[in-house]
Amino acid sequence: MYLADMSSAIVVRDLRKSYDGVEALRGVSFEVEEGEVFGLLGPNGAGKTTTVEILEGYRRRDAGEVSVLGHDPGEAPRALRERIGVVLQHSETPHSLTVREAHRLFAGYYTHPRDVDEVIELVGLAEKRNARVKTLSGGQKRRLDLGVALVGDPDLVFLDEPTTGFDPAARRSAWEMIRSLRSLGKTILLTTHYLDEAQQLADRVAVIRAGRIVRLGTPAELIGDTRTTEIRFRRDGQLVVVETEDPTRVLHDLTAEALAAGRELEQLEVRRPTLEDVYLELVDDEGTAAE
């Protein structure tokens, strides 16, 4: 019955889920291709984690069709669990183990695990391999989560808000790591409420708001969806913002006028909207439209 074409790692069709009569997901559909980094982006409470936890097999769906690597995750078959790696938002590894023991523990659950030391190296914990989990910093613990998620050599990795609470340097190194996963050919489903993270890492992004996907595409497409360009400058100290779909002509007029008057367009800026602008606009629009 699975409608997935062969190259789709994940197929979600009209997924619905309610908690105590409150609809958390109101018909979510998307597909994730093999080898793709797919970002699920949305504010807290939009339904990201519910969606991912259904795909991971933690929650049952009320309606809709779901296929993960050709399996129905609702039945949580072992064959599926052999092939996925999961990094949860809040989960810890038993504190009294060392980094290496934790990796060995998880490696023991899989039929074809990766080499433990290789994985520890990959996530950048080589120097900490004999340190107890409880002595690790927050960032190091997240690396450990990633390491134990990778030790079973999964084809598909779920990353639920992998850098929440990180300082900028730790985020950048986490991003590097996620990019390196991608170059290993892993399919990655990433949830995040950080726009720059989605923009940096994801091949395609689905923006989810109040249980519905409100936009789906590459980051460039999402930005390209809005054709407006913003021109900003200061006149007599006052900020002037011009939004236009015809930037060439408007800019020409503005500069011609200023040149003729012998004035300077102070702090002149011509900018395309970032994903953040698009996102805020989407979330705002939908928010006011829904209420």
């Binding site: 097999g57 949580a76 669990r81 949860l88 989960s91 009294s96 023991e101």
Partner: protein, 249 residues
């Protein structure tokens, strides 16, 4: 089977490494036996006091280990997401439960050996009259109290509260059931409470095999009550146990 042993090795390592748990769960019954064995002398109900205390503390130890220790560890692991994380690995849930059970069996078997060693070496207590029955009593105790432990873990909401809840259950029950000394002088209503709890009957079974050399199955009523409590705990667990932390259910 390989995975069971793998998980068992891990369970043992984490148990003995977490010193607070090991002290509270493993050392405490031995310590109490050392204290009480020094205080009581002579006979209790016609048996040497050190023997009766040994059986009583054996019961307390079974409950403290398989009920208290198990509940504390399961709730702790559930609330910090360890159980949830495990559910997404290929480790079968049954294998995990089996490994946890066998691990507590190992801990309590060592506890039992410790109690017997302490009793015979320090207090000149008897050795088990029926060794096989004694071994059976170890398994019975862990099975019953582990069942209750999983049931309790399913009902206890927070990792902060679990130690308190466990102690409020274990210590009074042990006291009422004669783990720490004879209960004949207790008021009737306290004895009546003990009469419906499993620990007293478990201690009776232990007394039977340890002191009188009876078969493990000599007292079907006591066995039945002990088994019923374990089964009740298990039934609660089957309905209410969750692998997910409370906040994310």
């Amino acid at each position: 089977m390989t995975m069971l042993l793998h998980q068992l090795a891990f369970e043992q390592r984490t148990f003995w490494r977490s010193r607070e748990a090991a002290v509270f769960i493993f050392v405490f019954p031995l310590l109490l036996y050392a204290l009480l064995g020094s205080v009581y002398s002579g006979e209790i109900e016609g048996e040497p006091a050190v023997d009766v205390l040994l059986a009583g503390l054996f019961g307390y130890g079974a409950m403290n280990t398989a009920f208290g220790g198990l509940a504390i560890i399961l709730v702790g692991r559930r609330e910090i997401g360890v159980l949830k994380r495990l559910r997404s690995t290929p480790l079968p849930p049954g294998t995990y439960i089996a490994a946890v059970f066998v691990s507590w069996l190992v801990v309590f078997a060592l506890e039992a050996v410790g109690l017997v060693a302490l009793g015979t070496l320090a207090f000149d207590a008897s050795t088990p009259a029926n060794w096989l029955g004694f071994a059976g009593a170890i398994v019975l105790g862990v099975a019953c109290f582990a069942g209750m432990g999983v049931g309790a873990a399913s009902l206890i909401r927070s990792a902060e509260g679990v130690s308190a809840v466990v102690n409020v259950i274990v210590l009074p029950m042990a006291f009422l059931s004669g783990s720490f000394g004879p209960t004949d002088e207790y008021p009737g209503f306290l004895q009546a409470i003990a009469d419906v709890l499993p620990l007293k009957y478990f201690i009776d079974v232990v007394n039977g095999v340890y002191l009188d050399g009876e078969s493990l199955f000599a007292d079907p009523k006591a066995l039945g009550i002990v088994g019923a409590w374990g089964a009740a705990g298990l039934a609660i667990a089957l309905r209410r146990f969750s692998w997910m932390p409370r906040e994310s259910r």
